[in-house]
Every structure is written in structure tokens, then in C-alpha cells.
């Protein structure tokens, strides 16, 4: 291990590390996108918004940061509707703050931090900058709990029809025994899917997590973190820098689904019953007692989903609707396009879901100039297209209702089988609603409804002052330690310092590459890493010195020193590593952050102290002609300990 050629390895690793770390220090550019509707405002109003931005800019965002913003003081041209901010250390907290404080000017969801060339090359545009945790910069934390009861009842709907058929087969005395056997096994298969094992719950939560991730990405919030909390079947979302965004919460929680359900066959017996009764009440002059009026009042009073569900279930009982069917409300606007979207009548649909949102993708809202209304067109997945074709060919003449959330928004008659995998939904939508519906279809629906368990604005654990002072103190501490090492171990100290620096650079690069979020305990882990790295070198030098004192030749003393220290360092680090891995597995939040840095720190420490330090030391002694190695401190005077 004494060849110069081995130096290539550390240099290579350093070069890679620096490349990975580059985006943290690079000049970056950020696009702050202006909302489209701002351009439609009168000029005076535009000016107010722009002035507000630049006042805050001068006072707050730009101050002392060295950032520039273009164009200055005016609205950017309509064809390029964005401000470009250039500078170093643009943080997510600041980006989110700018968006939130200028909500009527900035379109939060479209802001974009331009990736640097490195991020484009090695990560396809994904960010490589070190992320700071909520405890360092503050933000919002939401814990959403999965409602699995609701999930199973939905699942039962999906299999409702099949279950009835299977049960019929089982009860049918004339059915063939093998058919019965088949039905039995299918039945138990379906029933087992209602049984939610912890494993299954995790799978569903994973799916929900993916969708939330998607939704947040389209919001383009910087550095959100989505985590599953196994213990309480919940998903935790951390949004650094976001102070209180009700809009984001609504988007996260949106469990709306889109699905197709067949209406009861014509003639509409059940629907007719309800309609007759309603008409009778109207004739008696009791408009306030009609079910639809009561339901409208529920909606207007924002009674919530649960109350609405209970009301509809009540109707099912009142009219003796069989189990295979379910009562829904048909929602529409009144005569004017501006009137509210409200339930207008009741329809009775099959409980079985004919086609679910999972079979649809890629939805686009568009304006239909023929009917002067908004509609949403979408693509069906190959599987969905097949199902849709079968469905429309088998049920010609029946009504196929589109249910969005709990609302039936249209129920057109099936005239012809529809093939080709494209379809559209038209209803009485506003533009906003069409966009929302399109989003629901495109992003996929949450598999499980989520309720907010806890929502909190979190201030940073430390103030700005403490972070500044703390960083300075850590830097000074580092400098002192390094100086002490040189004073104490002379050349050895210099080599130890060198490998400590390399160690920290590699560690930072590794953590960046793993999308690690730096928290306060994480910093503590790094400090401990540095301490243990210094310790490893101290152990080695003490060993080398012992060898020298016993009169061994320098190059042998160095080799033996490293060898003797090897297992001590290994044992010390491996035990700590085991503790660290346990902390990652068992621990939560703060413990985990600490443990991850610690574990990776140990890996880098082992490399730098056992390989790199040794390489440097042996090169110095064997190749560079260092004949005298004095590992005694300057301040204890000159003793013996030189050997050739």
C-alpha cells in the first residue's frame, strides 16, 4: 500500500463529491411565475400587487442575500410571465414565503428552481441541494389518518354484484358441484380481501403516499416530505417554510373519486317512487318537507359528508331500496350558469362500481363551444377501455351515471358501444370544477380517505441568531481541534486534519445523494462523526508512538501502528454502527435523523482513517523521504522519539 497510484482513488472520490455538492454553492435561478389573471386586472391594481412584492423584496427577501430579480419593479411581459431570481443559497423556505406573501400575484404551483447542469446530467433535473428539516427552518406539519372502515365499505360495493351471484350459486340446489366449489373459493378470496391485515394497510398507505407525492409535485412546493407512520396508520406530511396554507391541505386531503355506475334499469321503479312522493308533498304545499329540500339545506349548512351519507342511507330505508342499489343525488346548477351547484333530484344506481377512476388517466379540461360549458376528456387505460367497451355494448339503452365524489354529475343514456379508449364527461361545470375533476382523474384518487389527525405550524427549534452563532462556534471549534492536532501530533496531526476534511466532504455528498433532510440532531450526528474520526487518528498515532518508543524502524512502526489500531477502531465503530442501525429501525423523527448521519459518518470514518490516513502516512514515510516522525506535542518540549 505504498504506491502513488493509489492516490487516484481519494482524488476521484473527492472530485465526485465536489460535483455532487456543487449545486449547493452554485448561482441558481428561480422562476417566480405570475398568475394569469393578474394581466386581466386594471393597471392600478396590477401596480399595487407589484409594488407590494418589491417593497417586501427591498425590505426582506433581497436584503443582504445578493440576489437579483428581473424585471425590476414592473410586471413581466405577458408572453414570459415570470420573474427570474438569481443568486446563491436560495432556500425552499424563502421560495414558499415569497409565494405565500404575494398570493394574488404569484402562482405558487408554477414556481420553479431551475436545475443546474449537474442536476440535469446525473439526476434528470432532480434537486441535489441539501434539504433543511422543519426544526431548522419552520413550516407546517400535517398528520393524516387513514380511514379503513370507509375503505372496506367501498371495497364491498365494488364486489357487491359478484358476491350476490356467488351466494346464489351456492344456494342453488341444481348447480353443479364443481361450480359450487369454484364459487366457494372465489367467495373466500373476495372475503379475505376485506380483511385488512397490517401488511395490507401499509400497502394502501403506500399508494396514498404516492398520490400525495404526486399532488404535492404538481403544486411544486419545495421539499415536501411525506412519511408513513406505521404505528397509527397515518401519513405525515411536512412542508418546510409553508406557514398556513389551507389550499394545500384541501388538495392533500381530497379523497374524491370518479367512477361510473349503472342506473337502475328502465322503467325507473325506485326513482319513480321517490319522485312520486316528492311531487305529492309539493302538491300539498309542503316544499320544506321534501327530501330534496332537506338535503339541499344540509349541503348549504355545510353539514359534512357524514351527515349527507346518513341522510341518503335513511332514504334507502324509507323506500325499501334493495341492497344492490344505492341512492345518490344528482347535482346541477339552476337555470343560470352562475347559480350554485346543488343536489337537484335523486337517482338510484347500482351499488357495483362499473368502472373506477383507476381505469382512467390523462384528463384534460376543455371548453365546449357548442354547449357553452366546460367538459373533461380523458383516456382509458387498455384494461379500462376493454371494460368500457363491454359495459357499453351489454347495457345499451340504460343510463350510465358518472359519480364524482358523492355527486352524480351526469347520467347519459348509452346509445352505442364506445370503443377506442377515449371518453368525455360533460356536466354543468365551471372552469374551476372542470380543472379539479381533471386533476382527480389524472392524479388518481386516494385509495383510502384521510382525515386530519393533527395540523400544526412549527416554528424553527432554534432562532436565526442561534443558528448563526452555533455555526460560527462549530467552525471555530473545528479550527481549534485541527490546530490542536497539528500542535500535538505535528505531521501526523496535519494528515489527520486532511483526512477529517475529506471525511466530511464525502459524508456531505453521500447525504445529499440520498436526499437526506438535515435536522438539528443530524448536525449532532455530524459533530459526533468528526469527534470519532479524530479519535481514530489519535488511537493510531498513540500506537505508532509506542512502536517508535520500543525502537522499531519508522516504516515498520507506522505499519504496525495501523495494524494494532485496526481492531480497536473497528470494534468501536461497529458497535456504534449497530446502535445507529437500531436507532434507524426503531426510532422516529429526531432519533432517525441523528442515526442516519451517524451511520454514514462511521462508514466514511472507517474509510478515511483506516485507508486514507494510512495511505498518506505511508507515502510520507516511504516515498517522500520523511525520516523523522515526531508525534510528541510542541508544547511538552522535545523528548526522544525520532527513529530512522
Amino acid at each position: 500500500m505504498q504506491s502513488y497510484r493509489l492516490l487516484i482513488l481519494p482524488f476521484l472520490i473527492l472530485a465526485v463529491s465536489f460535483t455532487i455538492l456543487y449545486p449547493n454553492f452554485a448561482d441558481r435561478s428561480l422562476k417566480i411565475v405570475v398568475r394569469e389573471d393578474v394581466y386581466a386586472l386594471p393597471e392600478a391594481d396590477q401596480k399595487i400587487l407589484v409594488n407590494a412584492l418589491f417593497e417586501r423584496w427591498a425590505k426582506d427577501y433581497g436584503k443582504g442575500s445578493g440576489w437579483t430579480i428581473e424585471p425590476q419593479g414592473t410586471l413581466p411581459p405577458k408572453e414570459n410571465p415570470f420573474y427570474t431570481v438569481k443568486g446563491r443559497f436560495i432556500t425552499s423556505a424563502k421560495i414558499n414565503q415569497i409565494s405565500q406573501e404575494n398570493q394574488s400575484l404569484v402562482s405558487e404551483s408554477k414556481n420553479k428552481l431551475e436545475p443546474t447542469w449537474i442536476e440535469n446530467t446525473i439526476r434528470g433535473g432532480k434537486s441535489l441541494s441539501i434539504k433543511l428539516g422543519l426544526d431548522l427552518q419552520g413550516g407546517m406539519r400535517v398528520v393524516l389518518k387513514g380511514d379503513f372502515e370507509d375503505y372496506t365499505s367501498k371495497l364491498k360495493d365494488l364486489y357487491a354484484k359478484e358476491l350476490t351471484e356467488l351466494n346464489l350459486t351456492l344456494k342453488n340446489p341444481t348447480a353443479k358441484p364443481e361450480d359450487k366449489e369454484k364459487a366457494k373459493s372465489r367467495l373466500s378470496e373476495i372475503e379475505s380481501s376485506f380483511d385488512l391485515s397490517p401488511m395490507r394497510k401499509i400497502v394502501e398507505l403506500e399508494k396514498a403516499k404516492m398520490i400525495i407525492d404526486n399532488r404535492l409535485t404538481t403544486q411544486n412546493l419545495t421539499e415536501p416530505q411525506v412519511r408513513i407512520q406505521k404505528e397509527q396508520d397515518a401519513i405525515e406530511v411536512s412542508l418546510p417554510g409553508v406557514s398556513n396554507s389551507a389550499a394545500i391541505l384541501e388538495i392533500l386531503q381530497n379523497t374524491e373519486t370518479v367512477e361510473y355506475r349503472l342506473e337502475e334499469p328502465n322503467p325507473f321503479v325506485f326513482k319513480g317512487q321517490i319522485a312520486d312522493n316528492e311531487r305529492r308533498m309539493m302538491d300539498l304545499g309542503k316544499r320544506e318537507d321534501t327530501d330534496i329540500f332537506i338535503f339541499q339545506e344540509l349541503v348549504k349548512n355545510k353539514a359534512g359528508k357524514k351527515a349527507q351519507d346518513e341522510f341518503l342511507e335513511g332514504l334507502e330505508k324509507k323506500y325499501n331500496i334493495p341492497k344492490d342499489f344505492k341512492v345518490y343525488a344528482m347535482w346541477a346548477r339552476g337555470n343560470s350558469a352562475k347559480s350554485a351547484l346543488l343536489p337537484r333530484s335523486f337517482v338510484v344506481l347500482e351499488r357495483k362500481i362499473a368502472l373506477s377512476g383507476n381505469d382512467m388517466t390523462n384528463a384534460q379540461p376543455s371548453y365546449n363551444s357548442n354547449s357553452y360549458g366546460w367538459m373533461v376528456s380523458f383516456t382509458l387505460t387498455p384494461n379500462g377501455a376493454e371494460k368500457f367497451f363491454d359495459l357499453t355494448s351489454e347495457n345499451r339503452g340504460r343510463n350510465l351515471a358518472i359519480v364524482w365524489g358523492d355527486k352524480v354529475i351526469s347520467n347519459p343514456v348509452i346509445n352505442d358501444p364506445i370503443a377506442g379508449g377515449r371518453a368525455e364527461i360533460s356536466g354543468s361545470f365551471s372552469e374551476q370544477e372542470a380543472i379539479r375533476l381533471a386533476n382527480v382523474i389524472s392524479e388518481g384518487a386516494l385509495p383510502i380517505p384521510l382525515s386530519v389527525l393533527e395540523m400544526r405550524f412549527i416554528g424553527p427549534t432554534l432562532g436565526i441568531e442561534s443558528i448563526e452563532v452555533g455555526l460560527k462556534a462549530v467552525a471555530i471549534g473545528f479550527f481549534l481541534v485541527m490546530a490542536y492536532m497539528i500542535l500535538y501530533y505535528r505531521l501526523g496531526g496535519f494528515i489527520a486534519d486532511l483526512s477529517l476534511l475529506v471525511n466530511l466532504i464525502i459524508l456531505a455528498a453521500l447525504l445529499t445523494l440520498m436526499d437526506f433532510t438535515l435536522t438539528l440532531p443530524g448536525i449532532a450526528g455530524i459533530i459526533l462523526t468528526a469527534g470519532m474520526a479524530v479519535d481514530a487518528n489519535v488511537i493510531i498515532y498513540e500506537r505508532i508512538r509506542e512502536e517508535i518508543e520500543e525502537g522499531r524502524a519508522l516504516s515498520i512502526a507506522v505499519t504496525r501502528g495501523f495494524e494494532n489500531a485496526f481492531w480497536t477502531i473497528m470494534d468501536a465503530n461497529v458497535t456504534t454502527l449497530i446502535a445507529g442501525i437500531l436507532m434507524i429501525r426503531l426510532g422516529n423523527g429526531p432519533i432517525k435523523g441523528f442515526a442516519i448521519t451517524l451511520c454514514w459518518g462511521i462508514v466514511t470514518t472507517l474509510f478515511t482513517s483506516l485507508f486514507l490516513s494510512r495511505l498518506f502516512m505511508e507515502l510520507a514515510v516511504n516515498r517522500m523521504g520523511v525520516h523523522h516522525l515526531n508525534l510528541r506535542p510542541f508544547f511538552f518540549g522535545k523528548k526522544e522519539t525520532t527513529n530512522v
Binding site: 419552520g138 400544526r456 416554528g459 427549534t461 442561534s466 452555533g470 462556534a473 490542536y484 458497535t575 441523528f594
Partner: protein
């Protein structure tokens, strides 16, 4: 080579540690009724306010101290003089009575603690409504769950370390290191309770750091003991321990010293909110070093003697 008789004082140091831990916990639970309350662990009130430019952290600290309200003051933004104030649940009664002292015309009737605190603050500092940027009653960030996880974690870690060290060296060293590790944690907890340091995320970080440091330190010392004991079964273990500790003393001093440099830099530097973190860590490093020499080594010796007696 200088040779110090470290094990001579073993009964003294062992009983000293034992008494210190017991005393720390007894005082914590009898005098103070347990560990200090903190926002991170128990929840409380949190407000963010923008104060007039002439008010400083000292004013706030002084005010809360004079009124006997436990508060943590954090400067969030320097330019705008924005502070975050965290009030522990323990001070709710004090706030209640102070609120009642506000002249009738200056207060709105309100039942929630956080509203009352905000009114008190606004009255005291003549703040208009819009300067109170946020006010929440918050739940614990860490807390019950963490205590539970922490204990499981500690026990599992100890078991694994015990196993690893038993395989790598000998059971007596593994046992001694584990006991010394528990000693370090208990000592530090006793100190945290005795000084009523508020448990928080940084304190957790400090405890974890000291755990890592302590394991590291013990293994270095024991490795040397094991190495020196190799093939010298007839020699008294206490001699070997003394020689080994003397041999590693240079390293122990150097490592503790360099670690302490960084920690002291934080204390001297004046990062107010990191003060507790650094203080606990400093104590932890000292305890960790002390216990490697005066707790772990003697325990392995006592264990050795007991075993030998059984076979004689």
C-alpha cells in the same frame, strides 16, 4: 511509563456514582415532582410576535422571569424583531391570574388559555392585533411516544452490544461496558432532572451523541485491556487494567479534550438555545470518560474476582 493505580478507588467511585444517581433522581422527583416540562414534550402555548424595535430578548426574558412564567424565547427574524414565545403548560395558572389583573376595558372575555396569553402580551407590550403573527395551543412534538421508543431502543442496543462484545472479546468486558453505558445515561438524566433542564429535541440529540461517544470510549479502553490480558491469565486483572488505562490515557485525554473544544466553543459562542445541548454534551463527555476508567474497568475486575472465587 507512568503507572497509576486506578482500581484502588473502585469502591469509592462505584458508591459515589450510585449515590449521585440516586440523589439526582430523588431530588428530581421529590423536590420538583419530575422532569421539567417543555413544549416539545408536553405541549403548551406558542405565539409569534413582532415587537417594537427597541424591545430586546433581555426585556422579554426579564418580564417572564419577574412574572414567574416559564417561557422559551426564540429570535426568529432579526431585521423585523420577530420572536417566538413558547410557554409550558405549567405556567397556565400564572397567566390566568395575570390576565385577571388587566383592567377590564383592555380585555375581551375569552376562555382559551392562548387567547388570554395573547391579550396579556398585547396589553403588556402595547401591541396592535396585527403584530401577533400567530398563536396556537400546540401538542407535543416528541414526548410519550419518544420515551417509550427511547427505552426500547436503549435496552435493545445494550443487548446487541453485549452480544457483539461477548463474541469479540469476553463477557466480563461486555457486561462492564453495558453497565457503564447505563450509568452514563442515568447520570446525565439525573443531572437533567436535578438542574431542571427542559427536555427538547436538542437534548435528545445530546443524549444520543453521548451514547455514541461513550460506547466508543469504553471499547477503546477495553480493547487494550483485552490485548494486555492475552495469555496472562495468572496475572491479577487489576494490574492489567491499571497498565492498560495508563497506556490509553494519552489518547483518552486527547479525545476528550478535542471533543470538549467544540462543545465549549458552542457554550462560549453564546448560541442561547444551544446552551442546554452543549452543556449536557459536555457533562456527558466527562461522565463517559470517567465511567470508562472508574466504573467499567472496576466492574470487570469485580466480576472476574467473583468468578475466580467460585472456581477456587
Amino acid at each position: 511509563m507512568y503507572n497509576i493505580n486506578f482500581t484502588k478507588y473502585k469502591y469509592f467511585t462505584l458508591s459515589f456514582s450510585f449515590l449521585a444517581i440516586v440523589a439526582g433522581f430523588v431530588i428530581t422527583f421529590t423536590k420538583y415532582g419530575g422532569f421539567a416540562h417543555s413544549l416539545d414534550f408536553n405541549g403548551g402555548l406558542r405565539t409569534v410576535v413582532e415587537l417594537p424595535a427597541d424591545k430586546t430578548r433581555n426585556d422579554l426574558d426579564g418580564y417572564f422571569q419577574s412574572k414567574n412564567i416559564e417561557a422559551v424565547v426564540i429570535l426568529l427574524e432579526k431585521e423585523k424583531n420577530i420572536y417566538q414565545l413558547d410557554i409550558g403548560l405549567g405556567s397556565l395558572d400564572t397567566i390566568e391570574s395575570l390576565y385577571k389583573e388587566i383592567p377590564e376595558e383592555n380585555r375581551e372575555t375569552s376562555t382559551s388559555a392562548i387567547d388570554r396569553f395573547v391579550q396579556l402580551l398585547r396589553y403588556e407590550y402595547k401591541l396592535p392585533k396585527e403584530k401577533v403573527l400567530s398563536a396556537d395551543q400546540v401538542g407535543a412534538v416528541v414526548g410519550g411516544e419518544l420515551t417509550e421508543v427511547g427505552i426500547t431502543l436503549l435496552l435493545t442496543t445494550l443487548a446487541i452490544i453485549l452480544l457483539y462484545l461477548s463474541i469479540r472479546s469476553q463477557f466480563k468486558f461486555a457486561l462492564a461496558s453495558s453497565i457503564a453505558l447505563v450509568h452514563d445515561i442515568l447520570m446525565t438524566l439525573a443531572l437533567i432532572g436535578f438542574l431542571q433542564i427542559k427536555p427538547s429535541v436538542p437534548i435528545i440529540a445530546a443524549l444520543l451523541t453521548l451514547l455514541g461517544y461513550s460506547i466508543n470510549d469504553k471499547i477503546v479502553v477495553f480493547d487494550r485491556i483485552r490485548e494486555n490480558a492475552h495469555g496472562k491469565d495468572n496475572l491479577a486483572l487489576s494490574n492489567i487494567i491499571n497498565v492498560s488505562i495508563s497506556q490509553t490515557l494519552g489518547r483518552t485525554i486527547n479525545t476528550s479534550f478535542t471533543t470538549m473544544i467544540s462543545v465549549i466553543a458552542i457554550i462560549v459562542g453564546g448560541a442561547v438555545e444551544l446552551y442546554d445541548f452543549a452543556f449536557v454534551l459536555l457533562f456527558g463527555v466527562l461522565v463517559g470518560t470517567y465511567s470508562s476508567i472508574y466504573i467499567a474497568a472496576p466492574i470487570s475486575e469485580i466480576y472476574d474476582q467473583l468468578r475466580k472465587k467460585r472456581f477456587v
